[in-house]
Amino acid sequence: MTQQQLVTAGTKMADVIHMNHLLLPVINRFGIRLGFGDQTVEEVCAQYDVNLSFFLDIVNAYHDETYFPREKMRAYPVDMIVDYLLKTHDFYRQKMLPETQQLVEDLIGSCSTDCDNLGMIKDFFSKYKKELENHLRSEEEHFFPYVQALTRIGQVSQGLEEIRSAYNFSYDAHSEEHENVVSKMLDLKNIIIKYLPPDYDNALCNNLLYWLFIFEKDLKDHERLEDIILLPALRKIEQQLMQNSG
């Protein structure tokens, strides 16, 4: 038996969840909630006023790594993409990070002797949490509003240079931050899997790891949208504006 790979407009929304339960938070980001009965993806999207084509591309790209229609996705309105990315940020800040922190603390709490070493993992995570939060904030202050401002450039009096200096977005710093947040997540997983000090509780440690795997998958998908869809879209807008002015 082969599993269904691609979600289409006619797929039952309930089947989408059965196919890949990791899609639950993705679907929530569109404002869609459980209880869809036998409704299809198309019907649910219409009910929640969600763009069907964008929904399908996001869900399929998340579910199937070979599916990533770059050109098509770069053509979606910037506001639509940014809105989805911002919802993801909220999800990290409000759900993933606090929950992971709790799981780390539970794990540390299960230690009875020689707990200094487990404490290292807690410190590592606390630092990571701050760095990821800073990254999310910096995108919300520099990256997203900069792209959005550029798409409105015809309607405002400011030119490219003014907007650029107003938002002060740096490609290099941004790509360094991405490298950092993804690598540290991988390091954390590997430290726990390969080098965890022996004094820990199995079940609590597994909970943390399951969670980290989910977090990592979601984060990679998120950074990929930013790097491969939004950044090239930004570069293109910048180039067009420079041609128009020059």
């Binding site: 070979t66 070493n117 590592f124 630092k127 490298e179 540290k184 991988l186 390091d187 430290i191 080098y195």
Partner: protein
């Protein structure tokens, strides 16, 4: 540790096919890429053990040169079709033809896998020199400072660091610091 594999190939059928064949024989983390520019962008910040690349993506000479510089230690396999002329063929470790049968494909992959440097010293512990470099990294020294302190070149430091990362599966300085303390290589109170 899972092998990091990049498949640079625009055809959906080929992508699916190659990744299915690969997962038949090894545990792999696969990344799919459609364009050479994107591949180069990816390799700027990531390392790969294998890159399978459709030779049709290699038509731009500039991007091609960048790719060969960025590929690092990755084994590069060219995916070809009927075309006899493969650009820059000396850069490839092997060639896979899209019309090949399973008996032809599997040995190519197995041979490649056996050749990876990482596989040769699988489970190998860090060498004395690598341990020394790791300690310095964990203590917060930069590559240049480590080079000066250990009387080796900066280039050698970087190559030790690559080996450390591939052996331990830990890449960042803070991750390596945790490892060093957990394994009593440096005392806890010496880290900031």
């Amino acid at each position: 540790m899972a092998q990091h594999i990049v498949i640079a190939e625009p055809s959906y059928l080929m992508k699916r096919g190659i990744s299915a064949v690969i997962s038949d024989i090894l545990q792999a983390e696969v990344v799919f890429i459609d364009e050479l520019e994107e591949l180069n962008h990816y390799l700027e910040t990531n390392t790969a053990d294998f890159v399978f690349i459709d030779v049709r993506l290699l038509h731009s000479k500039d991007q091609r040169e960048i790719f060969f510089q960025l590929r690092g230690n990755a084994r590069v396999v060219a995916l070809t079709g009927k075309d006899k002329n493969i650009p820059a063929s000396r850069h490839f470790h092997d060639i896979m033809n899209r019309y090949a049968s399973k008996e032809e494909i599997i040995p190519v992959l197995e041979k490649l896998l056996a050749e990876t440097p990482e596989n040769k010293n699988k489970n190998a512990l860090l060498s004395e020199r690598e341990t020394e470099v790791l300690k310095q990294v964990a203590l917060g020294y930069t590559n240049q400072q480590i080079a000066d302190r250990l009387f080796i070149s900066r280039h050698t430091v970087i190559s030790h660091r690559k080996n450390i990362t591939s052996k331990l599966g830990i890449k960042t300085v803070s991750g390596l610091t945790v490892y060093a303390v957990l394994n009593n290589l440096i005392p806890r109170d010496q880290i900031e």
